[in-house]
Symmetry: C2
Protein backbone atom coordinates (compact mmCIF):
# COMPACT_ATOMS: atom_id res chain seq x y z
CA UNK A 1 0.00 0.00 0.00
CA UNK A 2 1.25 3.43 -0.93
CA UNK A 3 0.14 6.74 0.59
CA UNK A 4 0.79 10.22 -0.71
CA UNK A 5 0.45 12.87 1.99
CA UNK A 6 -0.35 16.47 1.10
CA UNK A 7 0.26 19.62 3.13
CA UNK A 8 -1.59 22.17 1.00
CA UNK A 9 -0.94 25.88 1.02
CA UNK A 10 -1.61 28.80 -1.29
CA UNK A 11 2.10 29.59 -1.80
CA UNK A 12 3.84 26.25 -1.15
CA UNK A 13 2.48 22.73 -1.12
CA UNK A 14 4.40 19.89 0.53
CA UNK A 15 3.96 16.27 -0.51
CA UNK A 16 5.44 13.01 0.74
CA UNK A 17 5.12 9.43 -0.52
CA UNK A 18 5.42 6.49 1.88
CA UNK A 19 4.97 2.78 1.28
CA UNK A 20 3.86 0.06 3.69
CA UNK A 21 6.74 -2.39 4.28
CA UNK A 22 4.84 -4.82 6.56
CA UNK A 23 3.73 -4.35 10.18
CA UNK A 24 4.61 -0.85 11.30
CA UNK A 25 7.61 -0.69 8.93
CA UNK A 26 7.52 1.93 6.23
CA UNK A 27 9.58 2.95 3.25
CA UNK A 28 10.20 6.56 2.17
CA UNK A 29 9.71 6.91 -1.57
CA UNK A 30 9.74 10.63 -2.23
CA UNK A 31 8.98 14.04 -0.89
CA UNK A 32 9.06 17.56 -2.18
CA UNK A 33 7.57 21.03 -2.21
CA UNK A 34 5.67 22.68 -5.05
CA UNK A 35 6.39 26.39 -5.25
CA UNK A 36 3.35 28.30 -6.49
CA UNK A 37 4.78 31.83 -6.75
CA UNK A 38 3.75 34.52 -4.30
CA UNK A 39 3.27 37.24 -6.90
CA UNK A 40 0.86 35.41 -9.18
CA UNK A 41 -2.93 35.82 -8.98
CA UNK A 42 -4.54 33.11 -6.86
CA UNK A 43 -6.20 31.38 -9.85
CA UNK A 44 -2.78 30.87 -11.50
CA UNK A 45 -1.30 29.50 -8.28
CA UNK A 46 -4.20 27.07 -7.97
CA UNK A 47 -3.61 25.97 -11.58
CA UNK A 48 0.10 25.35 -10.81
CA UNK A 49 -0.92 23.43 -7.68
CA UNK A 50 -3.35 21.25 -9.66
CA UNK A 51 -0.80 20.54 -12.42
CA UNK A 52 1.96 19.75 -9.91
CA UNK A 53 -0.14 17.42 -7.80
CA UNK A 54 -1.61 15.68 -10.87
CA UNK A 55 1.99 15.04 -12.04
CA UNK A 56 3.11 13.58 -8.68
CA UNK A 57 -0.08 11.49 -8.40
CA UNK A 58 0.44 10.06 -11.91
CA UNK A 59 4.09 9.35 -11.10
CA UNK A 60 3.60 7.64 -7.72
CA UNK A 61 0.09 6.18 -8.18
CA UNK A 62 -0.81 6.07 -4.46
CA UNK A 63 -3.68 3.91 -3.18
CA UNK A 64 -4.52 6.55 -0.61
CA UNK A 65 -4.12 10.31 -0.52
CA UNK A 66 -3.88 11.58 3.06
CA UNK A 67 -4.53 15.22 3.82
CA UNK A 68 -4.66 17.24 7.00
CA UNK A 69 -8.09 18.46 8.04
CA UNK A 70 -8.32 21.95 9.49
CA UNK A 71 -10.87 23.08 12.04
CA UNK A 72 -9.14 26.16 13.33
CA UNK A 73 -7.48 29.09 11.61
CA UNK A 74 -6.29 32.55 12.59
CA UNK A 75 -9.41 34.02 11.00
CA UNK A 76 -12.07 33.39 8.36
CA UNK A 77 -9.86 34.99 5.69
CA UNK A 78 -6.92 32.63 6.22
CA UNK A 79 -9.31 29.66 6.46
CA UNK A 80 -10.79 30.64 3.09
CA UNK A 81 -7.36 30.96 1.44
CA UNK A 82 -6.24 27.62 2.90
CA UNK A 83 -9.56 26.07 1.88
CA UNK A 84 -9.01 27.10 -1.75
CA UNK A 85 -5.72 25.19 -1.90
CA UNK A 86 -7.18 22.24 0.00
CA UNK A 87 -10.13 22.05 -2.40
CA UNK A 88 -7.82 21.85 -5.42
CA UNK A 89 -5.70 19.19 -3.66
CA UNK A 90 -8.82 17.12 -2.89
CA UNK A 91 -9.92 17.48 -6.52
CA UNK A 92 -6.56 16.27 -7.87
CA UNK A 93 -6.68 13.32 -5.43
CA UNK A 94 -10.21 12.33 -6.46
CA UNK A 95 -9.34 12.65 -10.16
CA UNK A 96 -6.37 10.28 -9.67
CA UNK A 97 -8.71 7.54 -8.46
CA UNK A 98 -7.00 7.25 -5.06
CA UNK A 99 -9.03 6.96 -1.87
CA UNK A 100 -8.97 10.16 0.15
CA UNK A 101 -8.52 10.22 3.93
CA UNK A 102 -8.61 13.36 6.09
CA UNK A 103 -6.91 13.47 9.47
CA UNK A 104 -7.00 16.18 12.14
CA UNK A 105 -3.62 17.72 13.11
CA UNK A 106 -3.81 16.02 16.53
CA UNK A 107 -4.53 12.60 14.95
CA UNK A 108 -1.43 13.00 12.77
CA UNK A 109 0.76 14.04 15.72
CA UNK A 110 -0.66 11.20 17.82
CA UNK A 111 0.10 8.68 15.05
CA UNK A 112 3.77 9.65 14.62
CA UNK A 113 4.75 10.74 18.16
CA UNK A 114 2.19 9.13 20.50
CA UNK A 115 0.83 12.47 21.62
CA UNK A 116 -1.62 14.81 19.90
CA UNK A 117 0.14 17.86 21.34
CA UNK A 118 3.67 17.22 20.03
CA UNK A 119 5.87 20.12 18.89
CA UNK A 120 6.91 20.47 15.25
CA UNK A 121 10.52 19.38 16.02
CA UNK A 122 9.34 16.19 17.70
CA UNK A 123 7.17 15.37 14.66
CA UNK A 124 10.20 15.96 12.41
CA UNK A 125 12.45 13.65 14.47
CA UNK A 126 9.85 10.85 14.51
CA UNK A 127 9.31 11.16 10.74
CA UNK A 128 13.07 10.55 10.34
CA UNK A 129 13.02 7.62 12.79
CA UNK A 130 9.93 5.92 11.34
CA UNK A 131 11.16 6.23 7.76
CA UNK A 132 14.79 5.40 8.65
CA UNK A 133 16.06 8.41 6.71
CA UNK A 134 18.16 11.26 8.06
CA UNK A 135 16.84 14.45 6.50
CA UNK A 136 19.46 17.20 6.38
CA UNK A 137 18.45 20.68 7.46
CA UNK A 138 14.92 22.04 7.55
CA UNK A 139 12.46 19.77 5.84
CA UNK A 140 9.53 21.62 4.33
CA UNK A 141 7.74 18.38 3.55
CA UNK A 142 7.76 17.10 7.15
CA UNK A 143 4.04 17.69 7.66
CA UNK A 144 3.20 15.98 4.36
CA UNK A 145 5.34 12.94 5.29
CA UNK A 146 3.79 12.83 8.79
CA UNK A 147 0.34 12.87 7.16
CA UNK A 148 1.35 10.01 4.82
CA UNK A 149 2.71 7.99 7.78
CA UNK A 150 -0.58 8.57 9.62
CA UNK A 151 -2.40 7.29 6.52
CA UNK A 152 -0.35 4.06 6.57
CA UNK A 153 -0.73 3.47 10.32
CA UNK A 154 -4.46 4.21 10.37
CA UNK A 155 -5.12 1.97 7.37
CA UNK A 156 -3.32 -0.88 9.18
CA UNK A 157 -5.17 -0.23 12.44
CA UNK A 158 -7.71 -3.09 13.01
CA UNK A 159 -10.17 -0.63 14.61
CA UNK A 160 -10.09 1.52 11.50
CA UNK A 161 -10.45 -1.52 9.24
CA UNK A 162 -13.63 -2.59 11.08
CA UNK A 163 -15.10 0.89 10.90
CA UNK A 164 -14.57 0.91 7.13
CA UNK A 165 -15.63 -2.69 6.37
CA UNK A 166 -18.89 -3.26 4.47
CA UNK A 167 -20.42 -4.51 7.70
CA UNK A 168 -19.22 -1.43 9.55
CA UNK A 169 -20.69 0.83 6.89
CA UNK A 170 -23.94 -1.11 6.99
CA UNK A 171 -24.22 -0.60 10.75
CA UNK A 172 -23.51 3.09 10.43
CA UNK A 173 -26.11 3.39 7.67
CA UNK A 174 -28.68 1.55 9.78
CA UNK A 175 -27.94 3.64 12.85
CA UNK A 176 -28.33 6.79 10.78
CA UNK A 177 -31.59 5.60 9.27
CA UNK A 178 -33.14 4.86 12.61
CA UNK A 179 -31.60 7.86 14.26
CA UNK A 180 -29.42 5.86 16.66
CA UNK B 1 -18.03 40.72 -23.92
CA UNK B 2 -19.45 37.77 -22.05
CA UNK B 3 -19.24 37.18 -18.28
CA UNK B 4 -19.97 33.98 -16.40
CA UNK B 5 -20.72 34.59 -12.72
CA UNK B 6 -20.20 31.85 -10.16
CA UNK B 7 -21.74 31.51 -6.70
CA UNK B 8 -19.75 28.56 -5.36
CA UNK B 9 -20.88 26.28 -2.56
CA UNK B 10 -20.01 22.81 -1.35
CA UNK B 11 -23.54 21.43 -1.98
CA UNK B 12 -24.91 23.69 -4.72
CA UNK B 13 -23.15 26.00 -7.16
CA UNK B 14 -25.05 28.72 -9.00
CA UNK B 15 -23.87 30.10 -12.32
CA UNK B 16 -25.18 32.82 -14.62
CA UNK B 17 -24.07 34.03 -18.05
CA UNK B 18 -24.59 37.62 -19.15
CA UNK B 19 -23.50 39.42 -22.32
CA UNK B 20 -22.71 43.08 -22.82
CA UNK B 21 -25.29 44.61 -25.21
CA UNK B 22 -23.76 48.12 -25.40
CA UNK B 23 -23.70 50.87 -22.77
CA UNK B 24 -25.32 49.55 -19.60
CA UNK B 25 -27.58 47.18 -21.56
CA UNK B 26 -27.11 43.48 -20.93
CA UNK B 27 -28.46 40.24 -22.30
CA UNK B 28 -29.24 37.17 -20.17
CA UNK B 29 -27.82 34.06 -21.85
CA UNK B 30 -28.18 31.30 -19.27
CA UNK B 31 -28.27 30.45 -15.62
CA UNK B 32 -28.48 27.32 -13.56
CA UNK B 33 -27.51 25.45 -10.44
CA UNK B 34 -25.16 22.47 -10.19
CA UNK B 35 -26.29 20.01 -7.54
CA UNK B 36 -23.31 18.30 -5.92
CA UNK B 37 -25.10 15.81 -3.63
CA UNK B 38 -25.12 16.30 0.13
CA UNK B 39 -24.33 12.69 1.01
CA UNK B 40 -21.18 12.29 -1.07
CA UNK B 41 -17.66 12.74 0.34
CA UNK B 42 -16.32 16.25 -0.23
CA UNK B 43 -13.72 15.13 -2.81
CA UNK B 44 -16.49 13.65 -5.03
CA UNK B 45 -18.56 16.81 -4.70
CA UNK B 46 -15.54 18.90 -5.71
CA UNK B 47 -15.02 16.62 -8.72
CA UNK B 48 -18.68 17.08 -9.78
CA UNK B 49 -18.26 20.84 -9.30
CA UNK B 50 -15.14 20.91 -11.49
CA UNK B 51 -16.75 18.80 -14.24
CA UNK B 52 -19.94 20.87 -14.18
CA UNK B 53 -18.17 24.23 -14.35
CA UNK B 54 -15.74 23.01 -17.03
CA UNK B 55 -18.77 21.98 -19.11
CA UNK B 56 -20.52 25.35 -18.73
CA UNK B 57 -17.28 27.26 -19.39
CA UNK B 58 -16.67 25.25 -22.59
CA UNK B 59 -20.27 25.83 -23.67
CA UNK B 60 -20.47 29.59 -23.03
CA UNK B 61 -16.81 30.56 -23.53
CA UNK B 62 -16.89 33.69 -21.33
CA UNK B 63 -14.21 36.39 -21.60
CA UNK B 64 -14.43 36.96 -17.86
CA UNK B 65 -15.34 34.75 -14.94
CA UNK B 66 -16.69 36.80 -12.01
CA UNK B 67 -16.76 35.32 -8.55
CA UNK B 68 -17.74 36.65 -5.16
CA UNK B 69 -14.90 37.20 -2.72
CA UNK B 70 -15.54 36.32 0.89
CA UNK B 71 -13.92 38.01 3.87
CA UNK B 72 -16.32 36.98 6.57
CA UNK B 73 -17.84 33.66 7.52
CA UNK B 74 -19.71 32.24 10.49
CA UNK B 75 -16.52 30.50 11.61
CA UNK B 76 -13.19 29.14 10.34
CA UNK B 77 -14.80 25.78 9.55
CA UNK B 78 -17.45 27.21 7.22
CA UNK B 79 -14.83 29.48 5.62
CA UNK B 80 -12.65 26.43 4.92
CA UNK B 81 -15.56 24.48 3.37
CA UNK B 82 -16.56 27.47 1.23
CA UNK B 83 -12.89 28.03 0.32
CA UNK B 84 -12.59 24.47 -1.01
CA UNK B 85 -15.46 25.03 -3.46
CA UNK B 86 -14.16 28.49 -4.36
CA UNK B 87 -10.68 27.09 -5.08
CA UNK B 88 -12.07 24.52 -7.50
CA UNK B 89 -14.20 27.20 -9.20
CA UNK B 90 -11.14 29.47 -9.59
CA UNK B 91 -9.17 26.53 -11.02
CA UNK B 92 -11.87 25.72 -13.60
CA UNK B 93 -12.01 29.41 -14.57
CA UNK B 94 -8.22 29.66 -15.00
CA UNK B 95 -8.13 26.43 -17.02
CA UNK B 96 -10.79 27.83 -19.40
CA UNK B 97 -8.48 30.72 -20.28
CA UNK B 98 -10.96 33.36 -19.10
CA UNK B 99 -9.84 36.34 -17.03
CA UNK B 100 -10.86 36.03 -13.39
CA UNK B 101 -12.31 38.93 -11.40
CA UNK B 102 -13.21 38.78 -7.71
CA UNK B 103 -15.74 41.15 -6.20
CA UNK B 104 -16.73 41.66 -2.57
CA UNK B 105 -20.41 41.07 -1.70
CA UNK B 106 -20.90 44.81 -1.11
CA UNK B 107 -19.34 45.68 -4.50
CA UNK B 108 -21.79 43.30 -6.20
CA UNK B 109 -24.78 44.72 -4.33
CA UNK B 110 -23.60 48.27 -5.05
CA UNK B 111 -23.27 47.46 -8.78
CA UNK B 112 -26.79 46.06 -9.20
CA UNK B 113 -28.81 48.09 -6.66
CA UNK B 114 -26.77 51.23 -5.98
CA UNK B 115 -26.20 50.31 -2.34
CA UNK B 116 -23.72 47.88 -0.79
CA UNK B 117 -26.19 46.97 1.96
CA UNK B 118 -29.14 45.84 -0.20
CA UNK B 119 -31.34 42.93 0.89
CA UNK B 120 -31.39 39.68 -1.10
CA UNK B 121 -34.90 40.46 -2.47
CA UNK B 122 -33.79 43.85 -3.79
CA UNK B 123 -30.82 42.23 -5.55
CA UNK B 124 -33.21 39.68 -7.12
CA UNK B 125 -35.58 42.38 -8.37
CA UNK B 126 -32.73 44.42 -9.91
CA UNK B 127 -31.25 41.33 -11.60
CA UNK B 128 -34.67 40.87 -13.29
CA UNK B 129 -34.90 44.54 -14.24
CA UNK B 130 -31.34 44.83 -15.58
CA UNK B 131 -31.60 41.65 -17.65
CA UNK B 132 -35.19 42.36 -18.76
CA UNK B 133 -36.29 38.86 -17.78
CA UNK B 134 -39.04 37.95 -15.32
CA UNK B 135 -37.79 34.99 -13.32
CA UNK B 136 -40.63 32.88 -11.93
CA UNK B 137 -40.39 31.77 -8.31
CA UNK B 138 -37.25 31.54 -6.24
CA UNK B 139 -34.12 31.88 -8.32
CA UNK B 140 -31.16 29.99 -6.89
CA UNK B 141 -28.82 31.56 -9.42
CA UNK B 142 -29.63 35.17 -8.46
CA UNK B 143 -26.29 35.72 -6.72
CA UNK B 144 -24.38 34.25 -9.68
CA UNK B 145 -26.25 36.50 -12.15
CA UNK B 146 -25.70 39.55 -9.91
CA UNK B 147 -21.98 38.71 -9.85
CA UNK B 148 -21.93 38.41 -13.67
CA UNK B 149 -23.75 41.77 -14.00
CA UNK B 150 -21.17 43.32 -11.67
CA UNK B 151 -18.45 41.88 -13.91
CA UNK B 152 -19.98 43.57 -16.98
CA UNK B 153 -20.52 46.94 -15.28
CA UNK B 154 -17.08 47.05 -13.69
CA UNK B 155 -15.35 46.09 -16.96
CA UNK B 156 -17.17 48.98 -18.69
CA UNK B 157 -16.30 51.42 -15.92
CA UNK B 158 -13.63 53.88 -17.24
CA UNK B 159 -11.96 53.99 -13.79
CA UNK B 160 -11.53 50.23 -13.84
CA UNK B 161 -10.28 50.26 -17.44
CA UNK B 162 -7.48 52.71 -16.55
CA UNK B 163 -6.45 50.67 -13.54
CA UNK B 164 -6.10 47.60 -15.73
CA UNK B 165 -4.46 49.22 -18.80
CA UNK B 166 -0.82 48.31 -19.61
CA UNK B 167 0.18 51.81 -18.54
CA UNK B 168 -1.75 51.44 -15.30
CA UNK B 169 -0.03 48.11 -14.61
CA UNK B 170 3.34 49.61 -15.40
CA UNK B 171 2.76 52.43 -12.91
CA UNK B 172 1.68 49.99 -10.23
CA UNK B 173 4.74 47.83 -10.89
CA UNK B 174 7.02 50.86 -10.68
CA UNK B 175 5.40 52.12 -7.48
CA UNK B 176 5.81 48.66 -5.96
CA UNK B 177 9.43 48.44 -7.01
CA UNK B 178 10.33 51.74 -5.46
CA UNK B 179 8.11 51.23 -2.46
CA UNK B 180 5.75 54.11 -3.28
Amino acid sequence: MRVLGIDPGSRFCGFGVVEDAGGTRMRHLAHGVLSLGEERPIEERLQLLHEGLARELALHRPDIVAIEDVFHARNARSALVLGQARGVALLAAAQSGAKVRSFSPSTIKQAVTGTGRAEKEQVGRMVSVLLGVAFAGRLDATDALATAICGILRANDPQEAVARSPRGDWRVALARRFGK
